[in-house]
């Protein structure tokens, strides 16, 4: 979340889409309700089903899974057409005014410029900004420099009070603006023609962002981001939205008007939030769905503001922590980039991963990632201690270099293909959580060994008894399975990091039962044994293992308090922090500003630096004072980064540093002290005066929010484009010849089959979770099993009638990969839809059952798992599988 759970109470408008928080985050859902009760906030819910969340909505729209970009793109188009946009915010806090390179092509035919049809990879060299500084139309530049030395857009000239009162529409000129004196203007045809460069004409290097960005504050240059955005989404008309999403035009317009109504007339007081979860991530365009929403929020000026933001609801108690600590293969803790084989030394790595600022020359950019060397060297010191020295590149060579993708499905694919021989699995039920379960089960059959740390006997540790495995086949399985009983969450201390980025310390409630051990003990004991083996027997490259820093008081039982102190960070020599305060060797660091790149500090994760200071464990704080009434609770637990509760909060103020809404004051510029101050911790360079025009989005080298995602930011395009899910009932109405996401890879094992309507797979299927169950755990708990006893499939009335299915009948759902059998729940909460004029049904399956559990063991289920059905397809940016929106057929079982 850019904001936090409690902050939702400050909102005026909520769009919940790609998430079902009433179902999956019932405790957090108190805050949307609080906003409704206390502020009369409106709630729009868009979902394939009428959910528990929808039951509380002011407006519900049923959408086809996988068509979210079409809906959100339609909202962008509507906001631009109606002028429901945050003009000053847009011009000054986003890259709307930046001019994009000549040769960049929008995907009218489904492809951006630079696509290589052989490798299915884009050359992104045209996905960049033009350089050249201020290209604002001369007539406008005269008034552009305001009295405070702040650039104000010409759109405001002549309107009293700085805000247009009769709407805020900016002219969108889709023709070339000839004769207006643009220095770098290209022909209009360059936008839509076939001028896109292909990789064969370009060197492999895709360039860097220019330091001196060309921009047009009038937003009228035909290649400025705003004009490209408007042109791109002009295709997303309400009619097109209806064809793709199945949402009738009038309903779409109702939602569009309601959501963007907070910016009617350009008024900036109100704030709207977008709330989502894995309903957005689990698509082959997942990252781009989220990006479309983020762009809409930038257009509406909702990021950085109380009651606004892009709010990802994390699905497990510590999944945010797992992400922060590099739960994904392509990052190191704190979102540092993972080294690649080309990073021959630490200097090369740091040069590649440390951005330089790229901005209009008159503006300022904090470019916080310029501190990357301090974060990276401190991380290496935390990893390898005294073995990380300046003369050995801080032991950079100990780090693995990623030569290819190692995402979850790639690992299992490699195991299926015999490349991965063994697997340690903790805190997950691999057979169940991945797509295409049959492939995962077969992959485990080919492994040499499997270690499962779990609470219960689960489908993964008993993959060998998956339904359909014959006794003969079972005898042939040679995988050695080690099942380690692990402690549950209530039996461990440590921190949980919640969706709001709070680190909250918890105490163990009771000791682990029987032979169960703590995860960290198991991992420590395995590590110590491996280290002993390397010590006694040597190896190809023993150094990283032998030199791993292991300073814990009890080596085989590392205290999580010690680990937390190490992650937060310590001084290794007597140093001073940037304010001149001395920090003695061995002391905890006050925050990441104290980190150094000379080896005198260590920090396991710079983002968490300051969570455990000399004042103690900040995550254990439990003060309930909230002086501002905004729900900030600054002394409850500790929020990364720097205990800041709302990120990018400088954007909650106008150019002069005054809050857009005086009633919701987060931070502001204090002229007297010459500093940014406030109720929250300013997310900004605190002494940067408004006249310096430093951008609020300090993590981007531009300093501003990215409506256009330049260069390598995204694998599949600088603007999101609607692509059909890999299995779709229709061809993409925008460009039928490029229906799917062109850079999405299909896997090629015999078990990776993909279905289409011509094979009879004509029902759209989606998967989800229930309040009553927690993943694949609670099927072992009698109380949860009493609440929802067995698996089911939700089926619309019409489809059930067509097939003669009644509620409670057994039905069989079949995809190109496998079948799933459960009872039918015939409901009015999923309705038939018209997709591109064709009557289309969708059904839904809760995921919680498998072949071990109370109901399963009692023989009350068919022992099938929901993910037997889903395809092995991942989003090209975040590598999340497409669990939502694949094709099946339905019949009576």
């Amino acid at each position: 979340m850019t904001n936090g759970w409690i902050d939702i109470k400050n909102t005026d408008m909520m769009l919940i889409m790609g998430g079902n928080p009433a179902e999956c985050h019932p405790c957090g859902f108190k805050w949307p309700i609080e906003a409704k009760l206390q502020r009369n906030a409106k709630l729009i819910v868009v979902d394939p089903r009428f959910t528990r969340t929808a039951a509380n909505a002011d407006l519900f729209l049923q959408i086809r899974p996988g068509s979210d970009i079409a809906f959100l793109g339609g909202l962008i188009n509507y906001a631009i057409a109606q002028g429901h946009i945050a003009h000053d915010y847009l011009v000054n806090y986003t890259n709307a005014a930046f001019i994009v390179k000549e040769g960049f092509k929008l995907p009218e035919d489904g492809l951006y410029s630079g696509f290589d049809s052989e490798t299915h990879v884009y050359d992104k060299s045209t996905w960049n900004y033009e350089q050249g500084g201020n290209l604002t139309r001369p007539a406008a530049t005269a008034g552009a420099l305001g009295s405070a030395g702040v650039l104000t857009p010409p759109g405001q000239r002549g309107s009293e009070g700085g805000q247009a009162t009769s709407g805020n529409a900016l002219p969108v000129d889709t023709h070339a603006l000839t004769g207006l004196g643009y220095a770098a203007q290209g022909p209009a045809g360059a936008m839509s023609g076939s001028g896109g460069a292909t990789s064969s004409h370009h060197p492999p290097t895709q360039g860097t962002l220019p330091p001196n960005v060309a921009y047009d504050l009038s937003l009228q240059h035909p290649r400025c981001v705003y004009q490209l955005l408007a042109r791109h989404y002009a295709r997303y008309t309400p009619e097109m939205v209806e064809r793709i999403t199945g949402i009738p035009r009038d309903q779409f317009l109702k939602a569009a008007d309601l959501f963007t109504s907070i910016r009617k007339g350009g008024d900036m007081k109100k704030a709207g939030t977008i709330i989502y979860a894995v309903g957005w991530t689990q698509h082959s365009s997942g990252t781009q769905i989220i990006r479309t929403a983020a762009m809409l929020q930038l257009l509406l000026g909702n990021i950085g503001r109380a009651g606004g933001g892009m709010n990802a609801l994390r699905g497990h108690s510590n999944i945010q922590g797992a992400t922060d600590l590099a739960g994904i293969f392509d990052i190191l803790p704190g979102y540092l980039k993972m080294p690649a084989p080309d990073d021959v030394d630490v200097a090369t790595y740091l040069k590649r991963s440390t951005p330089t600022s790229s901005k209009p020359p008159e503006w300022d950019s904090f470019n916080y990632w310029s501190n990357t060397p301090k974060f990276a060297v401190s991380f290496l010191k935390a990893m390898y201690g005294d073995a990380a020295r300046k003369d050995n590149d801080w032991a950079f060579h100990y780090l693995p270099k990623i030569d290819r993708k190692y995402s979850w499905v790639e690992i299992w694919d490699s195991m299926y293909n015999g490349r991965v021989k063994g697997l340690l699995t903790f805190g997950m039920n691999g057979v169940q959580i991945g797509p295409n379960s049959k492939k995962n089960i077969d992959a485990l059959k080919k492994a040499d060994w499997l270690v499962v740390g779990e609470l219960y006997p689960d489908e993964t540790s008993e993959f060998w008894r998956a339904p359909g495995t014959t006794p003969e086949e079972m005898k042939g399985i040679q995988t050695t399975v080690y099942r380690l009983p692990c402690a549950g969450f209530a039996e461990k201390d440590g921190t949980f990091v919640n969706s709001a980025r709070w680190l909250q310390w918890k105490n163990a409630a009771l000791p682990p039962p029987g032979e169960a051990r703590l995860d960290q003990d198991i991992l420590a004991q395995i590590f110590l044994k491996v280290r002993d083996l390397y010590r006694s027997e040597g190896g190809v490259f023993p150094d990283p293992v032998l030199n791993l820093r292991w300073p814990y008081t009890q080596a085989d039982h590392p205290s999580l308090a010690e680990v937390a102190r190490e992650i937060s960070g310590q001084a290794l020599a007597d140093i001073t922090d940037p304010s001149g305060q001395p920090i003695k060797a061995g002391q905890q660091l006050p925050g990441f500003a104290a980190l150094k790149d000379d080896g005198t500090t260590l920090s396991g994760n710079w983002l968490y630096c300051g969570s455990w200071t000399e004042a103690g464990n900040q995550a254990a704080r439990r003060n309930t004072d909230d002086p501002s009434g905004l729900g900030i609770y600054p002394n409850w637990a500790w929020s990364w980064p720097a205990n800041r509760r709302v990120m990018y909060n400088r954007a909650s103020c106008d150019l002069a540093g005054k809050p857009w809404d005086p009633e919701r004051r987060q931070v502001w510029w204090d002229e007297r002290t010459g500093r940014w101050v406030g109720n929250d911790v300013p997310d900004f360079k605190t002494d940067s005066k408004p006249a310096d025009h430093m951008g609020p989005f300090i993590m981007n080298p531009e300093g501003v929010g990215r409506i256009f995602g330049p260069l390598a930011a995204f694998a599949d395009g600088p603007f999101p484009e609607h692509y059909e899910p890999v299995e779709s009932p229709i061809l993409n109405p925008l460009h039928p010849r490029q229906s799917n996401n062109p850079v999405v890879k299909r896997f090629e094992t015999p078990l990776d089959k993909y279905g289409d309507p011509s094979q009879g797979f004509n029902v759209v299927c989606t998967t989800y979770r229930l309040t009553e169950h927690y993943h694949y755990w609670t099927k072992n708990n009698p109380m949860n099993v009493e609440l929802v006893p067995e698996p089911f499939v939700e089926i619309p009335h019409d489809l059930a009638n067509d097939l003669g299915i009644k509620g409670g009948d057994r039905v069989k759902v079949t995809s190109a990969r496998a079948s799933y059998i459960a009872k039918a729940m015939v409901t009015g909460r999923i309705k038939p839809m018209l997709i591109d004029g064709k009557k289309t049904y969708q059904i839904g399956i809760p995921i919680h059952w498998g072949y071990r559990g109370i109901a399963e063991d009692a023989g009350r289920t068919a022992l099938t798992s929901a993910n037997l059905l889903s395809p092995t397809v991942v989003d090209p940016n975040a590598y999340t599988p497409e669990f939502k929106g694949f094709l099946v057929k339905l019949e009576r079982a």
Binding site: E23, P26, K30, F50, T771, M783, E786, K823, A824
Partner: protein, 294 residues
């Protein structure tokens, strides 16, 4: 634990006001249920089962999210899920927490012939005392909400106690404590009614529910469990909530007509007996006869 007569002033780690302040004895209590902000999460169902230490039971899939068709002797708190297609084509998924309504004029108590099996406290809680229950199930037929449930093994009838054990200690009922959204609240009847009226007004004025209102049926003297409904004119939509709950006439006739008449006749019997004694003299000892059961 403090004695039930003691009043809690403050509670550690408890957000909001001290629950039950002043309500456990003298003032009339009330459970507030805002159906319009209920998410059907069933936390209240679990809290009820766990606080009251009730055994788990096997349920069966019944084409609904609802845990079981109706409350049972060992499942006192059940959210009823109902899909409702409105005239404008939009759907509502109504979730109403069903449990004892703790009527001001309790039909169960009127119907009960067993001395002390059902009591109504001054704070309004209607509580079954199973040790006095004779298993006749008159309460079952006396209830307009189909709440009391018979256990054929113990031959007793059970229902929600409004956590009289917790309330007696100044705590809120377990269901209230567990509610994540705040759609359940607990306090004095006056306060809860005011909160409910304000919420219904907000729904009428800001949320497009012109018929929103508070369910606190006067036909049974009001209840100590009240609902805020999107549409007060159609309570039946919410899993069969009666629009005008009535105690069966047989019990009201017994209590309101026949019982006073009998009492009157009884009073009349005293002077008659005295007159008989004066005129006829004391009764002479007789051989024992079989006692007539009461």
């Amino acid at each position: 634990m403090p004695a039930g007569t003691l009043q809690i002033k403050a509670i550690s780690a408890h957000s909001g006001s001290v629950p039950g302040r002043g309500v456990q004895r003298e003032e009339e209590v009330c459970k507030y249920i805002d159906v319009t902000t209920c998410i059907g999460c069933k936390a209240c169902e679990v809290a009820c089962v766990e606080w009251n230490d009730m055994p788990f039971q096997q349920t069966t899939f019944d084409n609904t999210y609802q845990t079981m068709p109706a409350t049972t002797w060992n499942y006192w708190n059940l959210i009823k899920f109902n899909e409702h297609q409105r005239e404008d084509g939009t759907l509502q998924w109504l979730m109403r927490k069903d449990q004892c309504m703790h009527c001001e004029d309790p039909g169960c108590l009127r119907a009960c012939p067993a001395d002390g099996a059902i009591v109504q406290y001054t704070n309004g809680i209607v509580d079954f005392q199973q040790e006095n229950c004779i298993g006749c199930q008159y309460c079952v037929s006396g209830c307009p909400f189909d709440i009391p449930k018979f256990n054929s093994t113990t031959k007793k009838v059970y229902k929600c106690t409004l956590c009289s054990d917790r309330v007696g200690q100044g705590l809120e009922p377990a269901c209230i404590k567990s509610c994540p959204t705040g759609c359940l609240k607990f306090g004095t009847k006056t306060d809860m009614r005011a909160v409910a009226d304000a919420r219904a007004k907000q729904l009428r004025e800001h949320s497009g529910f012109p018929n929103a209102g508070v369910y606190d049926p006067p036909s049974i003297g009001g209840t100590h469990v009240i609902y805020v409904l999107h549409d007060i004119t159609k309570p039946e939509l919410y899993g069969g909530l009666p629009a005008n709950p009535q105690i069966p006439p047989s019990y009201t006739v017994w209590k309101r007509v026949a019982k006073p008449v009998a009492l009157l006749l009884g009073l009349f019997a005293a002077p008659v007996a005295f007159f008989h004694y004066v005129t006829e003299g004391p009764k002479e000892p007789q051989p024992p006869v079989r006692e007539v059961p009461r």
